[in-house]
Structures are given as C-alpha cells and as structure tokens.
Assembly symmetry: C2
Homo-oligomer: 224 residues x 2
Amino acid sequence: MTDNRSFKDIYEALRERIALLDYPPGSLLSENRLATEFGISRTPIRKVLQRLEFDGLVSVERGVGTIVAPIDMLYLKQVYELRLKLIDVIGEMDANWVSAEEIRKLRQLHDEVVAMADLGEPRELARAYLRFNEAVTRAIGNQPLKDIADRLFYLTARVWPQALPALDWRREVTIFAEEISACATALEEGDLPGLAATRRRHMIDCIHRINDYLGAFEVAGEPV
Amino acid sequence: MTDNRSFKDIYEALRERIALLDYPPGSLLSENRLATEFGISRTPIRKVLQRLEFDGLVSVERGVGTIVAPIDMLYLKQVYELRLKLIDVIGEMDANWVSAEEIRKLRQLHDEVVAMADLGEPRELARAYLRFNEAVTRAIGNQPLKDIADRLFYLTARVWPQALPALDWRREVTIFAEEISACATALEEGDLPGLAATRRRHMIDCIHRINDYLGAFEVAGEPV
DNA sequence: CGTCAGCAACTTGTATACAACCAGCGTACG
DNA sequence: CGTACGCTGGTTGTATACAAGTTGCTGACG
C-alpha cells in the first residue's frame, strides 16, 4: 500500500488498531512492516511509535521489536481511579459548546448501537465506543484536561472490548445505548454535572460487571 | 562537548534550560547545534525535541527551527485552573511514602532558600523551585497522576521566574521558604489533605501577587 | 527611491546504510 | 544426553546524505 499519510493519520490509525484489539496485547510490531504498509520509510513510523510509547500503549525494545502494551490491571486500576476523579473535575469546569449536529450524530450512534443487539459484532461495538468517547471528550472546555482525558481513555479503552466475549452481549449493548442516550440529553441541556454523574455511574457499573464475570481486577497482566 | 548522554538526560537537561529561562520564550533552537553540543547526531536530538513538543514546551517548525514556547497566559490560565483541581485530587488519593531522608533534604532546601534572601540570584531560586516540585511530586502515589502533574508543572514553571524581577525579592523568598517548610511538615505527618491545602493556597496567592504587580493574567503572549 | 525577483544560507523532514543488540536454533563438545 | 557456544536472521538505535521548506539579503529594474 502506498498511502503517504501524515503523522496524525498514522498515529490515529495505529492507536485505533490497538484499541480495537486488531493488534492484540503483547503482539509485536515491526517498523519495517509498518513502513512498507504505509509506503514511507522507518523514520516517520518511528516518530509515531515513540509517541505511542509516551502514551503507554506500546513499548519499544531494542533488538526485539515494538510490543503492544499488555493489559496490566494493576496499573489500569490506577488509571480508572484517576479517570473517575477527573470526570468530576470535568463536570465542575467550563464546557465547550456542543452543536446540535453533534448531538444528532450522537443519537444516531445510539440507534446504531441498539441495532447491534441482534448482530453481535464486538469490533463494531468497540468502534462505537471510541466514537462515543470522541463526542463526549469534545465537550471539555479546558484544553489540557481534554488532552489528558483522551490519553487516559485510550489506556483503558481495550478493557471492555477484551472482556466483551465473556459478558452478556445484549445486556452490554442495552446499557451502553442507555449511556449514550443519557449523555446526549445532558449535553443538549448543557448539564455538565449531570453528564459527569452519568458517566461516573456507568464507569463504576461497567467495572463491577467485568469484575463479577471475570475477577479481572483481582489478577494482573494478560497473556497474548 | 562530547557528552554521549542518553535520551532521559538530554530531555531533562533541555526541559530545565527552558524552565530556568536559559532558553527564553520564543528563542530558536537548532537541531544541528544541539547535536554538536551533546556530541551525537540529529536523530536522538530530534526524539527529545519531539517529546518536548508533545509536552507543549517547544514547537518544531519546518524550515524555521524549534521555537521555545512563548508564555501564553490565555492558555496557561487553563493549566493553572486544572492544576488547582488536581491538587485537591492528589490530596484525596493514595500517597507514596516519603522517606525521612527526603524530608531532611527538603528542610535543607528550605534553609538554602532562606539564605538566598540577601543574595538575589533568580536562577538559583528557580532551581530550588524545580527541586521543590520534584520532592512534592514524589509523594503522589497514583502513577499516571504523577506523570500528569509533572508535565503540567513544567508548563507553568516559567511564569514565576519570569515575573520575579518585577516582584519583591525578599518577600517572594520568605513566602516560598514558608511553603517548603509547611509542605515538609505535612509530608512528615502523612497529611496529604494538609499538603494539598497548603499548595493550593500558595498557588492562588502567587498568581494574585503576579497579577497585582504585572496584570499578567489579563494580557496574552510575551515577546522574545 | 521603492519593489520585487531570485539567490544563498540556513532550517526541519525523509530515506537509507550501518552499528548494536536480542532471541532462537543448531551443533559441537564435555 | 546435556550443555554451552556461536551463528543467523531478525529487531531497534544512530549517523548521514539528500529533499523540501523558510527567511532575509541583494541587486536589478521600474
């Protein structure tokens, strides 16, 4: 493939592949393979991988390769704790104005998710999850906080998709659709504290469900 | 100079030069000059500069050079707001155990600062400021929060040193020494909420003093 | 005198050759 | 048979040549 895309495109592409588990935790990426895939040399690819390493999504190891970060629950527990706190902070601070167009797209996303109840495509649901995060992140007015929230989200973005096969599919779809709908309404009314409360509740419940089914938050590390 | 130091050393060196105003806001860095100074090629230098760009401390512009970020008060106001919120979050979350040795060094730093009252070396005071931040940051138990706090600190680290010449030197030294002492005591007693309250109060007061003397938080941007 | 084209001397971005390094396998030897 | 050594094919790290871009000066021309 000769794409010749810029840094931002490649960065977001690889980040999405990691979040969607296209690159499973622990898998090995090669700078050469990525370079030929994107039709460029190793140099700009290395820039992207170094950025992903800063983000904590991969670890570049000399002589070995670039390893997609394992899902380390001992560490991600800290990230979840922090995200919970930050959700409240977001609720207390200035908000960005969210256009009616954005809200419309969010409601459309809700309908798409509802329609997934019968199909059972985990990857599509994970994609919807990413788009949902994109939408609610856009409402954060404080720029550095927005950047931080985005980075922290991608650190934990793989946990739910990874756990999905072990959960009750229809139930997860229903609950997620409810969250989207509630957040869309909160955004519509400019009710930031309400948005925060909704997201906080759903995040806690989600962690509980995963924990009940898997005990994931007791164990550490995940094999490939 | 043929130093041959690793990424972390060069990164911290450049970050400190920016924080201490050795590289004034808006000044131009050249990859070639830095490469020859550190006795290496452009490649590892570029890695450092890209990281600093990600941190928001420089902006790399093709055909021009690498520009040390100007002190943009419109943006830094947002960073200060966020840091104030995060200070409270830090106070509510788990703490790292701070060794007696660390506390001793902090009290020694206090004495060094007190001794600066008569000398008037702004750069030395700024260095003490960095070391103080290092010490209190070390008490943050939540790893991602620690990283975030450190990055946000360096975004605003230049504001006080930059304003120092326009402030009352002896007063600033005295207040800063008090802050160090109060924080050392709070750390000693493991009183994280107390530490947060102290830092919050001093941060707000410091902003007020700078604002009173300069009106800095009303204007945006700073020339070279 | 003013203006504008073009050159010159920088800058960063990219491609590439090579150095350093790691893991696994095969083989020779104890 | 077991162990240890070294080779081999891969990886990332570094240096470097070149491409592409910006800025400012310089000089010719209106």
